[in-house]
């Protein structure tokens, strides 16, 4: 188990180093002079040189990279050009809103996807199955930047149940969470269904039924527990879709999280903040997937002992 953990940790570290390198290179991909783009054409030469020196852009690329890395190790991600504050502070301010949205979305996804998928599998080819899978098809196909505005139109403007946008009171998280979870529910319920279908045909299910166990208990205790293994992995991977979707969903609802900060800083050409947001979201994703891998190995000994 220890070798497995070490292997995965090392792998994740390498990937994170790669991610950091790409994020660092982002600012060098800007066509033209990034300093000029950030400050606009009216800026004085002196201002430009100050910013250039502050960003370290006057130094060789390798030196810049070294500075960037050592800064990151001290959680120093530079200073925002627009807000004139440390980027790390900005991120800490915005993080709770995104974490709340992600947590509610995840909860909603599990509460919806598990029953949908299980019922669809147990009553295969029934009307319920067809309906659940049609919903799933619709869910993966509907873009959240369209679903969001429609939900606002119906539930905020017409019915007045929820606030239109922003972050005010517990009700304001409902519509963004529904928007963000629809796609996830769609993918996950499909996965639960196919995973359940596989498990339902196993011998131990027949045995459990044969010994007179109540059907509900057979399905939940013997079926679901085994079917959940692949679902956990998918959930870890889906968290990526959630984080990326949060950027768009937060923009739709003006939800003051890291995603909205990303878009705002792209618009105000505040590139150090853009870099930090992309880095934070991606590293979170890598860490979550690492934890999923480890949890999976812990639950299922076949993985850690199978030479992984």
């Amino acid at each position: 188990m220890l070798t497995f953990i070490l292997q995965r940790l090392l792998g994740a570290l390498l990937v994170i180093l790669g991610v950091v390198s790409i994020v660092f290179l982002l600012i060098h991909m800007i066509p033209g002079d990034p300093v000029e783009i950030m400050l606009g054409e009216s800026a004085s030469t002196a201002d430009r040189e100050v910013l250039r020196a502050a960003l370290g852009l006057d130094q060789p690329v390798l030196v810049q990279f070294q500075h960037y890395l050592s800064g990151l190790l001290h959680l120093d991600m530079g200073t925002s050009i627009h807000f004139r504050r440390p980027v790390a502070d900005l991120l800490m301010e915005r993080l709770p809103a995104t974490a709340t949205l992600a947590a509610v979305t995840l909860l909603l996804t599990l509460l919806m996807a598990l029953p949908l998928g299980i019922m669809a599998a147990v009553r295969r080819d029934s009307l319920w199955d067809t309906a659940a899978m049609s919903f799933s098809m619709l869910g993966v196909s509907i873009p959240n930047f369209w679903l969001g505005p429609i939900l606002i139109l119906v539930f905020s403007l017409w019915l007045g149940w929820f606030p239109v946008s922003g972050h005010s009171g517990p009700g304001s998280v409902v519509l963004p969470a529904i928007t963000l979870s629809t796609g996830l529910i769609a993918v996950l319920s499909r996965m639960v269904r196919s995973s359940m279908l596989e498990v339902l045909g196993e011998d131990y299910m027949r045995t459990a039924k044969a010994k007179g166990m109540p059907p509900r208990r057979v399905i939940l205790h013997h079926g679901l527990r085994n079917a959940l293994l692949p679902v956990i992995t998918l959930l870890g991977l889906q968290l990526g879709a959630l984080l990326a979707g949060a950027v768009i969903t937060e923009t739709v609802f003006s939800w003051p999280g890291v995603g909205l900060l990303t878009i705002e800083s792209i618009q105000s050409r505040d590139y150090p903040v853009v870099q930090a947001c992309v880095l934070l979201i991606s590293v979170t994703y890598v860490v979550v997937n690492l934890l999923t891998d480890l949890a999976y190995a812990w639950i299922d000994p076949r993985i850690r002992l199978g030479g992984g």
Binding site: L14, I22, M29
Partner: protein, 269 residues
């Protein structure tokens, strides 16, 4: 009935999408003509889908938007497929150091969730259809590289490949004649679903203001413009949204059918 809904209608929708996109240039469209007296006009006899906040015809803009989304998906999917397959196949066939490096690079790109990297790239490169294609291709090739690597790894020890190697066939010829034809089915399935992903991604970038430059039309940008007038003119948001949904749903439905037909071993997404 079921057959009609899940095959014929999607085919009709996609053919219509492609036809409108290809012919958009030659149709008498005026997507940029501002008619102040028609501002936010609701759909009716004068204009099939109404007019937007500048009094521009929504039908005309929808057709130009169809062209944008068609062009971007055609370019991004072809470029990604070509690049990803080439890289994945060659490195996996070589194996060893080549393969390990490629796996690391793919893992690093996959560490950026969804279109986050594309959002950052498009934001930094600036708006424009070319930059959207570049940004989405940089994100898109990875999936094909990973898929073709997995395929090559399972194919390269097959007997027909070993026989070809024993006969002294060149690597390039083995890849071309003995590997690629067998990899085609899963790659085509992946590319089909890729179209749906790119249509949503392009519209998403345009929705965020990072896609095509105004006054150029894109379905995503039309939704963005419409959200400001939702209470008075919901048709501005409905029309482009329905179009995206129709195209993406059609692609996904046909992709599912294609997967069932061509290959049952591909894991479901």
């Amino acid at each position: 009935m079921r057959n009609w809904l899940s095959i014929k209608l999607p085919v009709v929708i996609l053919v219509l999408w492609a036809l409108l996109s290809v012919t958009a240039r030659y149709l008498p469209l005026e997507p940029d003509r501002i008619q102040l007296e028609e501002i936010l006009a609701v759909p009716g006899e004068a204009a099939l889908l109404g007019n937007d906040d500048l009094g521009r015809s929504i039908v005309d803009r929808m057709i130009v938007g169809a062209r944008t989304s068609f062009l971007v998906s055609a370019w991004v999917v072809s470029l990604s497929l070509l690049l990803g397959t080439l890289l994945g196949t060659v490195t996996a066939y070589h194996g060893g150091w080549w393969d390990r490096t490629a796996v690391l690079v793919v893992d690093v790109f996959l560490a950026f969730p969804g279109i986050l990297l594309a959002i950052a790239l498009a934001g930094l490169l600036g708006p424009g259809i070319g930059n959207v294609v570049i940004a989405l291709t940089i994100v898109g090739w990875v999936g094909y590289a990973r898929l073709s690597r997995a395929q090559v790894l399972s194919l390269k020890h097959r007997e027909h490949v070993q026989a070809a190697e024993a006969l002294g066939t060149t690597k390039w010829r083995i890849i071309r004649k003995h590997l690629l034809p067998l990899m085609a089915a899963p790659l085509i399935i992946e590319a089909t679903f890729g179209i749906a992903a790119v249509v949503i991604a392009e519209a998403g970038l345009s929705f965020l203001g990072l896609g095509v430059q105004p006054p150029e039309a894109s379905w995503g940008a039309m939704i963005r413009d419409g959200t400001r007038y939702m209470l008075v003119a919901p048709h501005m948001v409905m029309a482009p949204g329905m179009a995206i949904l129709a195209v993406v749903l059609s692609v996904n439905l046909l992709g599912d059918r294609l997967r069932d037909k061509l290959d049952t071993s591909t894991p479901s997404r």
